[in-house]
């Protein structure tokens, strides 16, 4: 199908979580007729099981549909999906770079939320034209007029004539489609210029190899062309070009300026085609690369170890493959006395960590042990040197430390006045410093706080939700480092120091976290033949202790009329349980014990 550049619309949908982004995407695909209803899964774009279960979108994906507008002409829509969670700002950013405009979905009953703002600003940073859509107007609590006004006041974009829709009920979708044609600009750029494409995603496929998702800004690429990856100078011959059907790859003759699609080439190493890189032609290269993306640094680190030490090479392979699609994931080998060989991995946030670990376990069939997540601390040593600390075990001796710094974020919390007190209390408990408070309207407040990152990586979201009954939203960005009184909390099991359980904590919280940790471990470590003390210590001084009592009795009384197999099965179960444990000194510690520290505040 030959379509001129001015009939292409490359756009994304941005929204606060749960405001209906995926549902609207489904409706657009449905209305553009690419899919019959029968083909439609509930949510076409979210095709990973994991995403479906969590109800959020993780990997950005693109889909191409054909829309016949009211003027009778056909338009190509390239809809590029973006993740909604704050942890994935980096991925949002790379999706936005491939678009020319964005549809902003706002829940007409909820209004503007913290992430609505964050996403709009991000889109504007990428020079995208944004137009709003008021969703969920069929809800009794919908207040489209009020929300339209709020959008104009808070964000400063025109919203009074925004389409009022219900993606769920299929109301107003036609109006959205027409707005996409009319309000989102056609791509600029020229097919006559040297080839210039941005890699915005990539996927490893066991059949096709590396599939590179790109947006062509200038020029034209066809199978057989030689292309160059500008970051590393690697050259390859294009094997296939194509675009994205719903959930499948549809080959085509070539991709020209303004188009969104994919290429495959015989790329052998998964790390060669990095997201954010510029692809050009070997024969006629463009002068300079596209700006790419801002390199995002991981904010949260933890150790990831295979439960079965023999799986180490498989874990490495799996991490390499995931990294291809997710440049924000970093890892390097490390060794733990307790856990053996593994990797120190860096993540954008705790949810990102959770998702990566789950993907490793599910897609790569690995059984993993992860250590307590921590942030990157700066350690200023007495010799004037500064080191960045990602693994608590590497903390220098106290005598060598001059002082330490911890990362702080500036956070915005949008909350209804009803729960203001509770949320302020929460922020204070987490060592927050209030930097601002604005009434957005009479019943809603935007709170601004500086918060230490390590206070929010564990369970801040959950606490926020429960204390505001879900009526608070939260967004944050890195602010910088501040000096802080920090100590390393060590755990000793049966007097043996367990490196994998150490973590850095604010001095005044050490006792509290230490006791919680001991209590948690007490519940996780099975009884042994001897008593096991579990201690938390700071600088060699024990600050909390629990005891796992010795087993006193473990007998199988009955004889079951000679049914020996039943007895044997019970013993086998007992033996099997032991195999899954890590030996620390003479104590067998189950994998769950290492995970339990992630959930210190759950009761």
């Amino acid at each position: 199908m030959d379509i001129s550049q001015d009939h292409i619309r490359n756009f994304c949908i941005i929204a606060h979580i749960d405001h209906g982004k995926s549902t609207l995407a489904d409706r657009i695909l449905e209305k553009t007729g690419l899919l019959t209803e029968r083909e439609m899964q509930e949510q076409v774009l979210d095709n990973m099981d994991l995403e479906r279960e969590r109800g959020i979108t993780i990997k950005s994906q693109a889909v191409r549909t054909v829309y016949t507008a009211k003027n009778g002409e056909e338009y190509i829509f390239n809809l590029i999906d973006t993740p909604g969670h704050v942890d994935f700002n980096y991925e949002v950013s790379r999706s936005l770079a491939a678009c020319d405009g964005a549809v902003l979905v706002v829940d007409a009953s909820q209004g503007v939320e913290a992430q609505t703002l964050a996403n709009v600003y991000l889109a504007m940073d990428h020079d995208l034209d944004v137009f709003p859509v008021l969703n969920k107007i069929d809800l009794p609590s919908a207040e489209p007029d009020r929300v339209a006004e709020e959008i104009e006041d808070v964000i400063g974009i025109e919203a009074l004539d925004a389409p009022r829709i219900s993606a769920k009920a299929g109301i107003g979708i036609d109006e959205v489609l027409e707005s996409i044609v009319n309000k989102i600009p056609a791509p600029s750029g020229s097919s006559e210029e040297p080839l210039k494409c941005l890699i915005f995603d990539s996927l490893y496929d066991s059949y096709k190899g590396v599939i590179v998702f790109m947006r062509v800004f200038d020029g034209m690429v066809r199978p057989g062309d030689r292309i160059r990856f500008m970051a590393n100078g690697m050259e390859e011959e294009v094997i296939e070009t194509g675009y994205f059907g719903a959930g499948r790859f549809i080959p085509c003759d070539g991709l020209s300026a303004g188009m969104v699609g994919y290429i495959t080439a015989s790329i052998k190493d998964v790390r060669e085609a990095r997201v954010g890189d510029t692809v050009t032609s070997s024969a006629n290269p463009c002068r300079e690369a596209l700006p790419g993306y801002k390199k995002v640094n991981p904010m949260v680190y933890c150790g990831v170890y295979p439960a079965d030490t023999r799986e180490y090479p498989n874990l490495r392979d799996a991490l390499e493959k995931l990294q291809l699609n997710d440049a924000s994931l970093t890892f390097e080998p490390e060794t733990s006395l307790a856990l053996g060989f593994g990797f120190r991995c860096g993540f954008l946030g705790l949810l990102h960590l959770d998702i990566i670990v789950e993907r490793l376990e599910r897609e790569y069939d690995l059984d993993l042990v992860t250590t307590a997540p921590g942030v990157v601390y700066r350690v200023y040593k007495t010799d004037g040197e500064m080191t960045e600390l990602t693994n608590p075990s590497n903390l220098p001796e106290p005598s060598e430390i001059d002082y330490m710094e911890e990362p702080v974020v500036s956070a915005e919390v949008m909350v209804s006045t009803e729960y203001l007190g509770a949320i302020i209390g929460l922020c204070q408990e987490r060592r927050g410093i209030q930097t601002g408070m604005e009434y957005i309207e009479e019943k809603r407040v935007l709170l601004k706080y500086d918060l230490p990152l390590n206070e929010i990586i564990y369970d801040f979201f959950d606490a926020l939700k429960s204390r505001s009954r879900g009526y608070a939203s939260f967004d944050y960005e890195m602010k910088g480092y501040v000096r802080s009184e920090l100590v390393k909390l060590d755990i000793l099991i049966n007097k043996e120091y367990v490196d994998a359980l150490s973590f850095i904590v604010f001095k005044d919280s050490a006792y509290d976290r230490g006791s919680k940790m001991c209590q948690k471990l007490k519940g996780e470590i099975p009884r042994h033949l001897f008593e096991i003390p579990i201690q938390a210590a700071v600088g060699g001084k024990v600050i909390a202790r629990e005891t796992v009592k010795a087993v006193r009795k473990d007998v199988l009384a009955k004889c079951y009329g000679g049914d020996i197999t039943r007895k044997k099965k019970l013993l086998e179960k007992q033996k099997e349980g032991k195999k899954r444990m890590r030996q620390i000194g003479s104590v067998e510690v189950p994998k769950e014990a290492f995970l339990s520290v992630l959930k210190l505040d759950e009761e």
Partner: protein, 389 residues
């Protein structure tokens, strides 16, 4: 090599007047026509196994359940008749029958004796009626006393009484009452089991806390107290849960011959639904479903396996170590052709060093035994698991 001449028979009667609240055995209340067709099926299965008994001697016979005394005694008579058809029952063969005090009459016991029963096992559990009620038992302590008298009256010289520990609301004081009352009767044998709350029982549904079972600490004390009390009253513990009255002149062995054969891995064949058998190195178990069993008795197995040497070695250990006297090291070599030290030396040493097990006699002593200490017996599951491969 394994002795293949003797064989024991177990007959399972899966019927009860009412199921106890803690029971997860294959048993229950069924209509009469099922009971009678089950008995027919038993007879048929025994008949089908005629070949197994050729050239063998009957070492012991045990009728268990369920509640064997809940079915008409004539049915039991039919079973005995059929067994005598396939193998000779000698006068001195131990023949045990389990009975429930709520289901026995003078006539029934008389009948059992006439069939040849010479050992009776009475399910008492507790001497306190409040505890019996909590367990969902159908009888009182007074019912038990009447039953016990009848059993003695009819000339039964070996009686076992089952008691249960760690039952809801049991205390050390209430346990002593039970032990007092039971031991004063001087039964030849006492089995003391601690209550295990099994999945699928009403007790499991209710949960340990609501039931008011003794705490772990109290449970352990109760368990220890039982051992001490019975020892002081002339009962010798010969297996984890079993005690035999010491005979004054030492001429009579009051241990349960039938159960010893399980721990010694001697041949036995089980008849009836869910009954288990060991013949040579073959272990097999009938299906538990009465309907399937009755349709084609003994044909369907829920399990049928040929033990490999490693399975058999593990069994040798985890069954043998249930006995207080433990295992004889030379028995291992005789059966498996390899010294026990070569297979289990490391683990045995570890257990000895941890004070959980001991050797008796020197390494070159053919009578050398290996057995668990008191502490080892307390946590025997953990130890036995280590002898599995």
């Amino acid at each position: 090599m394994r002795d293949s001449k003797d064989i024991s028979i177990y007959v399972h009667i899966p019927f009860c007047v009412r199921k106890c609240l803690y029971c997860d055995f294959n048993s229950g209340k069924y209509p009469d026509y099922i009971i009678s067709s089950y008995i027919d099926a038993l007879l048929k299965e025994i008949d089908r196994c005629r070949e197994v008994f050729r050239g063998r001697e009957l070492a012991s016979l045990y009728i268990g359940g369920g509640t064997p005394s809940s079915v008409p005694p004539s049915y039991i008579g039919l079973v005995f008749d059929r067994i005598s058809d396939v193998i000779t029952i000698e006068d001195d063969t131990e023949i045990t029958m389990e009975i429930n005090p709520g289901t026995t009459t003078d006539q029934k016991i008389k009948d059992y004796v006439s069939y040849g029963v010479n050992r009776i096992s009475i399910g008492l559990q507790s001497a306190l009626n409040s505890e019996l009620e909590a367990l969902g038992r159908i009888h009182t302590f007074e019912d038990f006393l009447r039953t016990y008298d009848i059993v003695r009256e009819k000339g039964i010289e070996k009686v076992n009484v089952d008691i249960m520990t760690s039952i809801p609301h049991q205390s050390r004081e209430s346990l002593i009452k039970t032990l007092d009352k039971v031991t004063s009767l001087r039964p030849e044998h006492i089995s003391a089991y601690s209550l295990i709350i099994e999945k699928g029982t009403p007790f499991y549904e209710r949960g340990a806390e609501k039931l008011g079972v003794p705490s772990e600490e109290e449970s352990f004390k109760i368990y220890k107290l039982t051992q001490k009390y019975l020892k002081e009253h002339g009962y010798e513990r010969y297996e984890i849960s079993n005690y035999a009255l010491k005979d004054k002149n030492g001429s009579r062995d009051n241990r349960c011959a039938n159960n010893l054969r399980y721990w010694d891995r001697k041949d036995y064949i089980g008849f009836g639904a869910s009954a288990a058998s060991l013949i040579g190195y073959r272990r097999f178990t009938n299906v538990p479903e009465l309907g399937i069993y009755i349709r084609d008795p003994g044909r369907h197995k829920s399990e049928d396996m040929l033990l490999q040497p490693k399975d058999a070695m593990a069994e040798f250990m985890f069954l043998g170590l249930r006995k207080i006297e433990g295992i004889r090291c030379d028995d291992f070599r005789e059966e498996f052709g390899v010294r026990i030290q070569e297979v289990y030396g490391g683990i045995m040493k570890k257990h000895v060093e941890a004070g959980l097990a001991q050797f008796s006699g020197e390494d070159d002593d053919p009578g050398q035994r290996f057995y668990l200490t008191d502490r080892g017996l307390d946590i025997s599951n953990q130890i036995m698991a280590e002898y599995l491969f």
